[in-house]
Subunit: 189 residues, 2 copies
Amino acid sequence: MGEHRGDTRARIQAVALELFAEQGYEKTSLREIAERLNVTKAALYYHFKTKEDIVVSLFDDQLGRLDELITWGREQPATQETRQELVRRYADQLYASGPGLMRFAHENQGTMRDLAVGEKLKSRMKGLRELLIDPKAPLTDQLKSAMAPFTLNIAHFAFDDYDITDEERRAAGIAVALELVSGSPHTDA
Amino acid sequence: MGEHRGDTRARIQAVALELFAEQGYEKTSLREIAERLNVTKAALYYHFKTKEDIVVSLFDDQLGRLDELITWGREQPATQETRQELVRRYADQLYASGPGLMRFAHENQGTMRDLAVGEKLKSRMKGLRELLIDPKAPLTDQLKSAMAPFTLNIAHFAFDDYDITDEERRAAGIAVALELVSGSPHTDA
DNA sequence: GTCTATAGTGTGATAGAC
DNA sequence: GTCTATCACACTATAGAC
């Protein structure tokens, strides 16, 4: 015992993310988080102002990286190559953040709406979507492009009953996402 | 006033579905539902044994129809035509149920896990997925097939800032879903 | 940096009158 | 079939000691 020193804040984040992702933000109480860490609720309030503040801290880095990606994308020409590179870089960010955040966002979409950080994330995803879509393409092609980011998420949770590695899931997700943003081989009308 | 007679149960379902879909199952209290209907919480408990019981009643019909669809699918040959017809029939069921249920399931995935009805729905979706997938196809093609049901959902909520009708969204969703289950034009290895 | 203690509110659910 | 009243409990958050 007593093996932890100044890492309490990080440990709170880790446990909170795990529980939020596993059983939802609303259903996870501060008492539960505190018990899992063998501290008290009041200790949590020393490190974070509110419950929502824990979530904000969780998404902080990710949001910053998303901003950078979108800024980069807006400086590039709106070509198919740019869109494919956007998918690759977005996938890198997603997987670098670990499965926890992905799953949190995936399972708490309803909750995220009223959290301020949820609005931020939503606006970033819209920015990304606008970069991935060719507004002149047919609606079906636009839909396919819009689905590319979802694909990366779904790929990670689908086939949980298959005997394959996460790396294989990841590769499949990226491959399909790239195909989705590449448009059908259609002739110009 | 006094315009309602024996429709209280149905009115509870309607309001509950709306609120659950809008702000989440956990965040919606029975008090809120009751107030919206100008009845008391106790009145709710006359019609439904528990809060979860309201959700169960909401998904009851839908689950039955899904069972029929899967039973039908299992009787058909595992061809591309069958898979496409499955997508069409599933889409019909989805849209016939109205947007509320779709949105509920979409925004409360985390919550659905511990609800008994969530487990049921999940097993049905797995059954449907197995019918849509060709287990001999490359993993990327399997992923595309697995995404077809998601597509129908996403199509309905994406482009909420576009000036298009729900019917156009629906048509685009079905078109893309059909393409996803049809596999790439790949040669047999 | 972490504790005890508690305020203050809201929840799902029940009992029993009408 | 709907009501009033209430129970028992959990929650977020705060105050103040150590």
